[in-house]
Point group: C2
Chain length 145, copies 2
């Protein structure tokens, strides 16, 4: 495996299967590219227009899905030469993909649907406060609007 | 492990953590009672008032969560002596629990929220059509209304 950077984030198209009574939405299979083991699955609600930023996991690989609403994910990385990069991904019901995010990348997200959005993270390890770094939203300059 | 019956269905209270911008909802940890391995995670949408029934998994353990809306799950089991049992569980945002359902139990579900509900199944094995039995809704008599 090469060095981690923003190119290490994997985007995978997910199927939505038309079903009477309500569609079935694929998520993650253990045989899928991007599966790095199961530690914990949990949801984050994100309200319209609100932002949660910034966090960096140092051990966890995240597999992120948005089965309700639309969410803007912003990823931030400082290269070894000191240059900075941002990657912006709008995902949700209208762009139903899974993002696989390796450890070592700062991220934040914003609800960009008119109503509530829901993020599922299928994490490779259980939640562990000691492997998370946090910054205040203003500590990394990004134009969220 | 004893024989499977409706008493084998495990109900686990899940935490909702108040968080600025949108709450965090626990789902499943690999160390939780009821975790039987990770095969696949997928969502089923269920529209208000609609019913999906009946299915029985012969190998899969389901871990079922409802992070949006409210869903009535109905479980059906024929005992070795031929007697029948039903178990009804209304779960969702107002009763945020996880149901762990071992293989061998018939189930159906109905959207009982005013709007769309979302079911997450964290399944112990990937989807495999050959391990699923199906019946038409009328094949098992239950008063859904």
């Amino acid at each position: 495996m090469g060095a981690i950077n923003l190119n290490s984030i994997l985007e995978t198209h997910l199927e939505t299967i038309k079903t009477k009574g309500g569609d079935v939405l694929h998520g993650l299979k253990k045989t899928d590219l991007g599966y790095e083991g199961f530690g914990e699955a949990y949801f984050s609600r994100i309200e319209s227009g609100l932002i949660k930023a910034w966090k960096k996991h140092n051990s966890m690989t995240m597999n992120i899905l948005v089965p309700l609403g639309e969410v803007r994910f912003v990823f931030y990385f400082i290269n070894p030469d000191g240059t900075e990069n941002f990657l912006v991904k709008d995902i949700g019901v209208s762009n139903y993909v899974r993002l696989t995010v390796p450890p070592g990348i700062w991220f934040g997200f914003k609800g960009i649907s008119q109503s509530l959005s829901l993020v599922l993270n299928i994490a490779s390890i259980p939640h562990e406060p000691n492997e998370v770094d946090r910054k205040n939203i203003d500590d990394i300059k990004f134009n969220w609007s």
